[in-house]
């Protein structure tokens, strides 16, 4: 309550940039900040600088639609994201900052026999790992989401759904700010508006990080720059097998409570949930062509609006307030790359597609361990770069197609 009335400063601002840090993290998004937080908390490493080219959380962390879940298709993916979900579940207390996580469940609609088969498969894999996830019939879909049009007289009638009661929504910015505050209080330096403009290498090491505010040296360098990873890695001559796409979302005016669950339709390439404030947040899958151009497109809101109204006839007259877009970096198998690189002191976390935010806490825990102890946690082992040369992909394409 004291904190409520006199919140005090969240973090220090205007810090000078030092010449050297033990660890430099490029990217002040949720993953970079989480890693900084756990480096300080779990490993006592506090000589850390987080360099962010804009304000913290300005990239995917502030543009995603704040859905966290673990009903992935592969056992590797499902275990990894469940570990993240467990951390999220306790994160408000951990950070002493309410991230407003609410486990309202994720309902993925099946409009075809094929989609039911994928749902069945995901449910089987999930249940084996102790994740609450099951296929439900049309009657239960109706009961759970009365606003849904479950008649046959639609483009794609609903046959059933995959329900994942543990799936949640939360306030994404709060996670960024909570981690930033926690890291700052433990001595980590956060430097917003400090863009990395170059990385010098010598032999197998990154020797210098160039910024307009001066050059820095670091023991270890982590790139946690999501959509911009290709550019950062290019600075050290590293080419990652991924492409960057633009992803769009919109929010409506707040309305009285209508939806509890997040509703996903892969067939319609959309998902929607209602925030605690009452807004409907809807998004689509990535645009079909790679681009860094971050403008919203009209086609996107037209198609999502049309399908949303077909799914929920009652929201026909609810107005769209704002549209936005973000970048996502996609690998051939829709699974991430979290690994050391041929450069001994350069680590990457990239290729997150639409999953980077969901993974942030577990990425922070496992990456800080990798940086501090050089040990690869079993949870991230499958997501190494080696899988592309070994042809051992972790295929999340089926659950990635749309299910954010």
């Amino acid at each position: 309550m004291k904190d409520l009335l006199r919140p005090g400063r969240m973090w220090r601002t205007g810090l000078p940039l030092k010449k050297r840090y033990d660890v430099v993290i490029i990217g002040g998004g949720v993953q970079g900040l989480a890693t900084a937080y756990y480096l300080a908390k779990n490993h006592g490493i506090t000589d850390v600088a987080v360099l962010e080219k804009s304000y913290i959380g300005s990239g995917g962390s502030g543009r995603n639609t704040a859905i966290v879940r673990s009903n992935y298709r592969t056992p590797e993916g499902a275990s990894f994201y469940q570990a993240s979900l467990d951390l999220y579940d306790d994160l408000s207390a951990e950070l002493d900052f309410n991230i407003m996580l609410t486990k309202r469940g994720v309902l993925s609609l099946a409009h075809s026999e094929r989609a039911l088969a994928t749902a069945t498969e995901r449910a089987s894999v999930n249940q084996k790992l102790g994740i609450d996830s099951r296929v439900i019939g049309l009657d239960e879909v109706r009961r759970r989401v009365p606003a849904l049009n479950t008649s046959r007289d639609v483009t794609w009638p609903i046959l059933g759904a995959l329900i994942h009661p543990g799936g949640a929504i939360l306030r994404h910015d709060a996670v960024v700010w909570g981690y930033a505050r926690g890291a700052d209080r433990r001595g980590v330096e956060i430097h917003p508006f400090t863009e990395v403009t170059g990385l010098d290498t010598s032999g197998d090491r990154v020797t210098k990080i160039r910024t307009p505010r001066g050059d820095i040296e670091a023991g270890t360098v982590l790139s946690a720059t999501a959509g911009w990873s290709s550019g950062i890695c290019k600075m050290v001559g590293l080419r990652l097998p991924m492409k960057t796409y633009v992803l769009q979302a919109f929010v409506t005016e707040p309305i009285r409570p209508l939806l509890v669950e997040t509703v996903v339709s892969t067939q319609m390439r959309l998902y929607v949930h209602q925030t605690t404030r009452g807004e409907l947040v809807a998004g689509a899958e990535a645009e079909p062509y790679p681009t860094y151009q971050g403008r919203s497109t009209l086609t996107f809101i037209e198609s999502i609006s049309r399908y949303l109204v077909e799914l929920f006839p009652a929201i026909r007259d609810v107005s769209i307030l704002r549209t936005w877009s973000g970048l996502c970096d996609v690998t051939p198998d829709y699974s991430p790359i979290i690994d050391r690189t041929p450069l001994a002191n350069f680590i990457v976390s990239a290729g997150w597609g639409t999953y980077g935010f969901k993974a942030a806490p577990i990425v922070g825990v496992t990456l800080s361990k990798l940086i501090a102890t050089n040990q690869v946690d079993p949870l991230i082992k499958p997501f190494g770069l080696h899988r592309f040369t070994d042809d051992r992909f972790i295929s999340e394409a089926a659950s990635a197609a749309m299910s954010h």
């Binding site: 009285r256 007259d317 609810v318 107005s319």
Partner: protein, 861 residues
Amino acid sequence: MRLPRRDGETIDRDDRRTFTFDGKEVQAYAGDTIGSALYANGQRIFTRSFKYHRPRGLSCAAGNCAGCLMEVDGEPSVKACTRTVQGGEVVRSQTISGSLERDPMRVVDHVAGPVTPVGFYYRLGIRPKAAWPHIERMLRRMTGLGRVGEAPPKPHRADVEHRTAGVLVIGAGRSGQEAAARYAAEGRQVILVDERAEYASLAIDGVEVIAPGTALGVYEGRLVPVHADGLMHRIRAEKIVVATGSIDQPLLFEGNDLPGVMTPSAVRRLVGLWSIRPGTRAVVLAADEAGDEAARLLREAGTQVVETIDLRGVRPPKVKAAARHGLLAAVEIDGRKIDCDLLVASAGRQPAYSLLAQSGCSVRFDAEKGIFAPDQLVDGVEAAGSVTGEGAAVLAAAEGAGKRTFVCPCEDVTAKDLVRAVGEGFEDIEIAKRYTTVTMGPCQGRLCHLHSVRALARATGVGEAALGTTTARPPWQPTPLGDVGGRKLNPGKRTALHDANRRAGAQYVWTGVWRRPDHYGDAAAEIKAVHEGVGLMDVSTLGKLYVSGPDAEAFLDGVFPNRISTLKVDRVRYGIFNTDSGRIIDDGTIIRVGERDFLVTTSSGGVDQVYEAFLLWVAERKLAVDVVNVSGALSAVSLSGPKAREVLSRVTDVDVANEAFKFLDVRQGAVAGASALLMRIGFLGELGYEIHFPSTAAEHVWEALMKAGAEFGILPLGVEALKALRLEKGHIIVGIDTDSETTMLECGMGPMIAWDKGEFVGNEALGRMNERGADRALVGFTADDLPNEGTAVLVGGEVGGRVTSARRSAVSGQVIGLAYVPAAIGSEGSAFELDLGEGRRGGAKVHIGAFYDPDGERMRG
């Protein structure tokens, strides 16, 4: 109460209309808006605010703020001040519990103010953890503006028109009209758009006027959606002129959100358009000539103007508005109290540059005028009038941030909240916006953006120019989903036989973009017909690519993993398309119709992807090959069953004797008089022919074959029969039995690969995987219980794969299917379990090869 008839008023006093507001009947004239009629009838509180449930009323009367949001005929959050009265509307107030005048939630404003500062919810409800879900549910019930789903949605036409414009002028004020007239005089095709209803009757020579119509945004390629009464004009413009003018900015002072505090433009509209006296005793505080104009209009309207203060060039006075029963009752200026029921207040005008910014133009802060104005325009976009910053200026807010000084009335964000956010470290405009939610409400930042940047600039000591602006995002006005989405359209592909299928009783199913017959009433009978008599299936959905040229053979050898150079003319061969990483994209057949000519078929859904890949590979390898997509030009049917030969013989001039037309042979000839390409293949397991012919002859060929087969009980076949019949043969369907990672090696197709022929698409990856051996195998299986497709395969209690297809065999009565299993158990007879759900498990055994006619005698005979 109306003033005597005035020149220029938009109301038609001879045309009376009525609507209901919260159940009470309200009198209006044609030309009124819901808001003006309510105001004329004495209504002052229009809605309550989002967070504190403070009373709010008409403050801009121009659709720029959220002071008048109401539900109209079930549509939530309508800006009542700009919604024209049609008559008969059912209007309800929203964001209230209780009534507008007595909302019990207003207690939040009185008691909770000090404990609900900006960001308070981030600090509440953390411990105990178990309490939070209850708090969250309570918060949900308290928030939200409009209701949905209570009234049945009104019938509503929403449609899209695709338009072009030589010049699109947005904004029909003086500058917009001038620009439109000028371009029309030059002979350009001009469209003029304005969101205000009073321009509906505007007429300019050679100019099409859309009013009221709202330009929602400027998208790539100068695409501007204009929303006009349910119709979305999607206008591509050669040139755009933005003449959106400037917007009255509120003056910041304690109580600036009270009903009774208005901008000068509200006075201009109330008096000028609707002949309404805005109040009885008024004080005017303004920073431009609009104040004088408002004072003059008020006097004309019979309002007593007690005091007019021109704020330009004077020390900003300390202003405080006081309320009685939620309405403005007095204003205190530098400690001097003046009773009044109307306070006209404005800090000046800020250019409405949002559409310009969306088009890519840069925006800079003009420190002298205190406004953000457009700077560098982009090609094809012009700005005209006060949107350029010409004549616009805004006063800096007075010092002292009160706890009831609303910077952002939509979100109830006060000046004090912003100072507090900065104190907490949210120093940048974007991050402060996300923390305080300033500018994120229904006004789209029209009234709060400039003030919030300036408040932050002062609190941080960083200049406005350095802080910059937030990104301007579409839409410019909140727009209903139904109007944005337009008419429901289901673009789907139909074959040339669609109508013939429908006449035959087809029940359709979506397969990708195609609508295909799932069955014609009885799938089991269709399956039986193929095994015992004959069936006819429309397979026109197959992709068809004509590949020809000197390098055609070399090209196909470089694409397919099997050898194409050994394929003789008039023969057909199965083929798989892979990605560079050796994963299956699609499958199909390669038909050699000449030395340099091939027809390649693909699956129904795969053709676009394969066609694109073919073009890329041809270009990359610089080959002399033409690839033509003839999918639509050719239709195809598959005639299968022991009686297929006899049926075909009756309608073709091709010799169909077994020795003359062998399995995997290709023939060209006439079928029912139409020129056709015939091939003998056996996807369905029985004697079968696939016949391709021009789509123009499709129905004729179909009817001829159905007629010829009548005496053998021929039946049309749907997709369900196809799935069941091919499963008997163990044939895969790409997309059902494969996923994005499936390789040929896993499907037992390794022997097809001609490793020694040199490079082909995916050879490197497949070679490496071949050396290592596949981890999993796609195998046939038999089982006791019928599993759902997708069911997990359990090996040693662990998930080891999944079922991709399963049916009860019409032939053996046994459960048969295809499943991924670990490669280690991928041999005939290996046992595994199926996870049937709810703890039940079923036994299954691996079966290698076809379930039905394993030696293929029936399709070869």
